[in-house]
Amino acid sequence: MSVAGEFVASGRAVLIKAGSFTLFTLRLARVAPALVLRRPGLVVEQVFNTGALSLVIIMMSGLFVGMVLALQGYDLLQRFGSTDALGSATGLALLEELGPVITALLFAGRAGTALTSEIGLMNATDQLSAMEMMAVDPVRRVCAPRFVGGVIAMPLLAAIFSMIGMFGAQLVGVTLKGVDAGQFWSQMRGSVDLKDVDQGIIKSLVFGLACSAIAVYEGYHAVPTAEGVGRATTRTVVTSSVAILILDYMLTAVLL
């Protein structure tokens, strides 16, 4: 096949996959409201699996991201003699950008891969076929609760990440570098308003939608072999990470 032919073929394959993903996500979105109302227990279980089980990694990362942010921020602000602004800088950076983005990247790596491999293995071991034979729609019973659970868990995790990050920034900025605690917190409270918090929430909700949909889609459509599930899991991390960064730019451009 010529280079042009291969280019056309891969473009076609990308379009087909994008169409399939869109239809699958719409199907998830269609069954989600009824699921939340009728089977809230299934959703709560998945919020626990995707959210609570990711807490340690989110808190650890949040702490160190906040600490390094304060360290770098202090070094930079010191050059302009405005170290008092450290609280504003770290607060805004965490709430608007780093909280949602890094949480989503960690979510894709921890919860996203777990979702893909779980659903992929269920498919490989005929569990999804068995459900279909029991007249139970696997998309409704398996995929939708995990999708909704991920969407709910992401903003909660991002909020915890940002909160722990601020604590880490305070630890380095105030305790280690000697920035005045009153200045640190009052500057942060003065410069962060509800719009900034909203921006973080909107971003993490969109990232939650994207990451959960990608993870569930890849698991459900994984080739039912060990290699197929492995490849699907890799695709989940790669696609989610790229999607997060692209969506982040688009959302920032709109919301700023």
Binding site: D126, S129, A130, E132, M133, M134, A135
Partner: protein, 280 residues
Amino acid sequence: MTDPSTAAPAAGPAPFVRLEGVGYEVAGRTIFDKLDITIARGRVTAVMGPSGTGKTTLLRLITGQIRPSRGRITVDGEDLALLDTDGLYRLRRGMGMLFQNGALLTDLDVYENVAFPLREHARLPEPLVARIVLMKLNTVGLRGAARLRPAELSGGMARRVALARAIVMDPKLLIYDEPFAGLDPIALGVVLRLIRDTNDALGLTSVVVSHDVQEISLLADYAYLLSGGGVVAAGTPAELARDASPVVHQFMGGLPDGPVAFDYPASDYAEQLLGAEVPA
């Protein structure tokens, strides 16, 4: 032997499943050319054939998991081609299927696996669910294993749990995919007895896909032998055992030489070895 083109347990009760002129192709390969099969109501019907003849594909066609390329399939009087997804799910509520590996849900224990269809389709009070589940588990002799996880079960136990789950909604049709594969003689005997007893006690229709000739001879009321994309023989196991046609004789006797090739087609053996030819 009955002529496969007209094969049907005609003297028996009305058919539960009927395949008429069914063809199925996938990725340019013909799995079935023209398949005519009748599954009689209330009987245990076996579908046998060498590996790769499409026995599991046949089950997927009967259950509507895949659509035939041509021909007509009716189950309990309903044409599968005319059913949408909801219609298929409604029909499947009257079916139970036992997968080769059991296909138990690995995040649920034995009790919850058996209770799963009840919880999904019926809003029953918990004491009633418990009674039904325990009765079905008792039927397969695993009432005491209710709280074990699927990973803690042997292959035979997993299949018995799957059988309990398959009958928990009291289906009219029960389908078994290779129920004897990999079982030790005791488990095999138990599963064999369970299939027969379940069919007779509950008044079901059973379809058993297998290539275990001896077990099928003991179990089935009627059997079809598939090969080369169609039915090559049909009749009672005793009739098939007496059949002298080469394909049936080779399969029923477990003979390596005959019309069904054991070796996959390949280039000349000596030439390939002497030329150290790497398979393309």
